[in-house]
Symmetry: C2
Subunit: 383 residues, 2 copies
Amino acid sequence: MPDAGPAPASGGRYAGRSAASAVATIASVARVTLQTIADEVGVSRMTVSNAFNRPDQLSAAMRAKILATADRLGYTGPDPTARALVRGSSGAIGVLLTDDLAYGFRDGVATDFLAAVADELGPTGLSLTLLSSEGRDGVVPARDVAVDGVLVFSCSLDSTARDWLVKRGLPLVLVDQEPDPGFASVGIDDYHGARLAAQHLVDLGHRHVGILISGGSPGTVGRLADPRREAEGWKYVSRQRLAGFLDVLEAAGAEAVAHHVAEHGDHAAAEQAREILGANPRPTALLCYSDVLAAGALRAAEDMGLAVPDDVSVVGFDDNPLATRVRPELTTVRQDAYAKGTAAARALTEALRTAQDGEPAEPVEVVLPTELVVRESSGPAPG
Amino acid sequence: MPDAGPAPASGGRYAGRSAASAVATIASVARVTLQTIADEVGVSRMTVSNAFNRPDQLSAAMRAKILATADRLGYTGPDPTARALVRGSSGAIGVLLTDDLAYGFRDGVATDFLAAVADELGPTGLSLTLLSSEGRDGVVPARDVAVDGVLVFSCSLDSTARDWLVKRGLPLVLVDQEPDPGFASVGIDDYHGARLAAQHLVDLGHRHVGILISGGSPGTVGRLADPRREAEGWKYVSRQRLAGFLDVLEAAGAEAVAHHVAEHGDHAAAEQAREILGANPRPTALLCYSDVLAAGALRAAEDMGLAVPDDVSVVGFDDNPLATRVRPELTTVRQDAYAKGTAAARALTEALRTAQDGEPAEPVEVVLPTELVVRESSGPAPG
DNA sequence: AAGTGGTTCTTGATCGGTACAGTAGCCGAG
DNA sequence: CTCGGCTACTGTACCGATCAAGAACCACTT
């Protein structure tokens, strides 16, 4: 079956590794701890501890001797868990991603955000733990995982996971959530951005605009009879953007047709876009909740033989990397997800610091600006 | 001010702890522990512990009383850290991403992989901790973060982080790494896949093929004089794919021009692609290490006014989601990154299980298949 | 010679829990 | 009336480390 045989090259050296695993087998039985080293060297446990954490507390000679012995016995340094217990901090911060964890890895905005968090946290030595909202099997990550603080990201309002975090009294930073006094929050000016997008279309002469939005209950798909009302229970960001769209369109006397997309993906978006664009008279433009949805709209237009922007303009939101990968490149509202991640990480480390010092924290509230980026997908209303 | 005031009554004995709690009161609101609840209810610490972990060990009435009291005092359940210490496991598994953490969030293959891991881990209640390879500031995540096992993903050979993990004796699963007896490994048949891609071009009549590859030292950019030799120190996956490309091309008597791309991104790839396609005679096809690079190649071709696939064929690798988002859609070698993630997560949970039972683990070695997916970006050699 | 100050190491308590081996009270069987 | 067997709790010993004091020793003052 393997028509290609084993990989060429390699010829690697396996030395050491095999020995390591042999040791590991035994090691799991008789663990090496500070005490083991202490006994071996003939000093107290504390001195060994100091050899690792406080070089200035013992003589260089002794330290060298201890480190050498530790190395010989295969001791890798103080156990992280035990250290965490006594220090009262685990050295990890959590990220709560409600819907599904996969989202955090797929959406361009989420990944930019997380990348920034990772970059910002790196130097501090904190690591990043992903908390899934629902731990089946009786385990609730938000309750049972050791973290020093949490970034609550893109999380629905009724999250029990979030409630656990609050109960635990952990330092929290709310990201893209409705600001809540008592917690630091970081977000972008969604409302303003949405207004910019809508105004752009209005300025181009569009008076009949379709809206593609997601973020509400997965149950409601398709045209929204009364968008404002139906959006009341939605995620904060969705509500904000929708409000921005509608406020401007209504003020301009334009007709708006809003459709809710079941899930935040381009396929689902294309489906709704087809419905919107199939109407007669056809809207001359589409305002989308995100670039992901806009990409779906682009695809739908293409399938229907409509030229963008000549027949229909499409405007996205986020300035996802995706926005410049599609053709035509998307006119969109730019948010700096990376900056958002940086700000969130800073806010959290700051909160961690004040919590540690016992200072009463004064939660920051960051709102990053949004701006319109005009590219190829929008143009004057036809006709 | 204190809207919740100190715990009512609480005739408990704070002896010994009182000094500490006096400080704690200021610092972080006197902590509530098992003992606090025990004192309040008038039972032993152990009984409270059982109320949370072993309902069958006490009467339902007592349990209800304890739980109610715990709730009243704001106790959220046993401290994860302390529990981890005594249980010997932290409930989190790590993912080691060497280069930069951001990579794990940007590349489609990495995200698919991680999404699968997350999905697979969810039900087990394990959470996911991202380990950056280099913790500046004296902190080395691979050494200092509490995890039960680690997925070593896309990691260069000389990783000290990886060495720490090995030293710690943690269960490891190597993903897309050179298989190492002693550790479970999961990967795909890169060599075979690369052969398929190359053979596809050969079958289409191409005899002059450019190769775009990354994964070597960032220093070496541009044309490789002696690809096979220069690739010796490269990442396993890069070596495998390059070998597959070259073996087939050489066997077919085709001319191969390989360029190394500094970083795994489309911009850098476009740059190299421009160089390759600027040659005279121009190669009639481009074999790319990944779809990301292929996307860059596509962009370069477009900029140069070359039609794909009429003037030049482009073949990618991975079947990244990106592959069907670009125009023309990419002919590529499909790997199932999601399945890879699933397999890796399973292998690790399995390793965790055997390690716990003390059974001598027998590391699995999974090699997932790869297959050619022909789309729009490849066609017969021109002329 | 006693006092001062600085290293270098040790002791005992503690972090918050869980495992395991009791112990008491109670019930039916012999 | 006593004993095995339950049920419902309790006591003690860790898990592997760190912290805050304290002790021993050394060189130097005064």
